[in-house]
């Protein structure tokens, strides 16, 4: 049962990575920018969730608040930081993005303290269910459900609605999409809004799972999410989903087998570097690096 427990832990992290990384891969698909500061959005979502949940006593309200505010923040980042830098080499907006992440993390530390914030009322992380010998807590179940709902919803949105189809068209062929009358700038705002809301959900859930939101919550997730979108083939939602689950499992089993000489984050980056060297264009090779 030990190995199954590891798989459950790996899959729940994988689902969380997927929710976080999908916004990132879509930003890359649209703008060719590695949006490192997406992790700051993730952390912002986690903080909003915990603060509103503690203030109102309702975790659900916390998630609603996080999903309402983070899209505005994501769109502001695009408008104020990335849009003026679109004409430069791709590493220029990326360095600006790293700067924004470092700035936001320190701002969270100053505003909410080094120790982080815990949920005053969080029975979910400690409520254990036993499904045929597999032990799961309520937050892990919520992560699985949220991931399934979000990815199914995203799939329906991008295949069945006009806005979603326009979005996909702009990601794959921006000029042709524009000639069909799709407003590329609106698509970008939509993209940042949806990606940020999903990152906020992932942040809130991980806060619940650990029962702690601290300033470094987004720190390592950010760079891992970049690893995921590279592995998944940039701009590909399906590839991102697969790569997220694979990375979650690699980390989960890797800490058992080679955890004595590398820590969890180093394992993830070892996998990333190895794959980048073998396939610089990612798993699916949709676009050259």
């Amino acid at each position: 049962m030990y190995y199954i427990d590891l798989a459950v832990a790996g899959l729940s992290f994988g689902c969380m990575y997927a929710m976080m990384a999908v916004g990132l891969t879509l930003v890359y698909g649209l703008l060719r920018i590695l949006h490192v500061a997406h992790a700051a959005v993730f952390a912002l979502g986690a903080y909003l969730t915990v603060i509103v949940a503690n203030a109102t006593g309702s975790v659900l309200l916390g998630f609603v608040a996080a999903m309402a505010v983070t899209p505005l923040f994501g769109m502001a980042v695009y408008r104020l930081l990335y849009q003026p830098l679109l004409g430069y080499r791709p590493d220029v907006p990326m360095i600006a993005s790293v700067g924004l992440l470092v700035l936001m993390q320190d701002a969270f530390r100053i505003a909410f303290g080094e120790q982080g914030v815990t949920f005053t009322h969080n029975p979910y992380a400690f409520k254990i269910f036993d499904l045929a010998g597999v032990r799961l807590n309520a937050v892990q179940i919520a992560i699985f459900v949220a991931a399934v709902v979000i990815f199914a919803g995203l799939h329906l949105f991008t295949t069945r609605t006009r806005i979603g189809i326009g979005w996909r068209a702009t990601v794959s062929r921006p000029r042709i999409a524009a000639s069909f009358g799709i407003d590329a700038v609106k698509v970008r705002y939509l993209n940042f809004a949806i990606g940020s809301a999903l990152a906020a959900v992932a942040g809130g859930l991980i806060g619940l799972l650990n029962n702690l939101v601290d300033p470094v919550i987004g720190y390592v997730v950010s760079y891992k999410a970049l690893a995921i979108i590279v592995l998944g083939g940039l701009g590909s939602v399906r590839g991102t989903l697969i790569a997220s689950l694979v990375l979650g499992m690699v980390e989960s089993y890797g800490t058992i087998f080679i955890g004595s000489w590398l820590n969890r984050d180093a394992i993830a980056f070892l996998a990333l570097i190895a794959l980048l060297m073998i396939r610089p264009q990612g798993f699916t090779g949709a676009r050259a690096a």
Partner: protein, 283 residues
């Protein structure tokens, strides 16, 4: 000079070596590296181990320099496979891999680091003089390289690899050379650091340090040796000079990085020369 002045000036000297050497890789040759801390750390650990094993100070510095350069050339090969923002991600990975590896190795002291590194025998002032001498030599080397044929080739590779190849510049060889020189200097700085503190842990070489070094390069004006020296000195002194800034150091570095890229992508050097070094991409 008080002990505080000596240690502050030593840190400035080390930061100048690190920032100027990163500028050779990222500024001159255009290969963005966000993992300079790993090479610095490799140098520090190699020097510390060599000093404990052989008790020879010059040999320890040579070992530190060599460790930085060897790791740097290995990473340099990565720059032949991936470009631009992907290289930046790879180097971030190298930094996390380095600190993650060191923390788990008992023979490197693990989380506790290596303490009680034997003294260099030069005393605090002697160490300081040595650090400043190497910093001056690094700046001189950077200025020389900038004006040499190699510097010309670096800039050509930085601006357009394919065009550089058509005029007979072996882009791969020059990228490796840039990584080799820059990371050897970082390894040397690591060796000097090991003797300056006589105590090293993985935390001193983490990704945040690499971001701070990149901030110095970008704020100074990427590619400009003098701009980078001014930024390295200024950004090391600022948190010390203004006490309350020290607690908000990362906020300041992150904020400056964002503002400078957003408002003056050429940095200090660009502002003074009115000449943006980061040229807009082709449409």
């Amino acid at each position: 000079m008080s002990a505080y002045d000596i240690s502050l000036i030593s840190v400035i000297g080390l930061n100048v070596i690190l920032a100027v050497s990163l500028n050779m890789i990222s500024g001159f040759c255009g290969q963005i590296s966000l993992g300079h801390g790993a090479f610095y750390g490799a140098g520090a650990y190699a020097a510390a181990l060599a000093m404990i094993a052989t008790a020879s100070f010059p040999l320890a510095l040579v070992c530190g320099t060599a460790a930085g350069a060897i790791l740097g050339i290995v990473v340099g090969f990565a720059s032949l496979r991936v470009r631009s923002d992907f290289l930046a991600i790879t180097t971030i990975g190298v930094n996390f891999l380095f600190t993650g590896f060191v923390r788990k190795q008992a023979w490197l002291g693990g989380e506790m680091g290596i303490s009680g590194i034997p003294a260099s025998g030069l005393g605090r002032t002697g160490n300081l003089v040595l650090i400043l001498a190497f910093a001056a030599a690094t700046v001189a080397l950077s200025l020389y390289v900038g004006r040499s044929w190699m510097g010309f080739a670096f800039r050509a590779v930085s601006q357009d690899e394919d065009a550089a190849a058509t005029v007979g510049i072996n882009a791969g060889a020059y990228k490796l050379a840039a990584f080799g020189i820059g990371t050897a200097l970082a390894g040397l700085a690591g060796g000097l650091y090991a003797f300056f503190t006589q105590f090293i842990t993985a935390d001193a070489f983490d990704f945040i340090l690499s971001v701070m070094l990149m901030a110095m390069v970008v704020i100074g004006g990427i590619g400009s040796t003098f701009g980078v020296v001014v930024a390295a000195v200024g950004l090391t002194l600022l948190p010390e000079a203004i006490r309350f800034v020290n607690d908000y150091r990362l906020l300041l570095f992150g904020g400056l990085l964002v503002l400078v890229i957003r408002l003056a992508p050429g940095g200090l050097a660009g502002l003074t020369r009115k000449l943006a070094v980061l040229r807009p991409a082709k449409p």
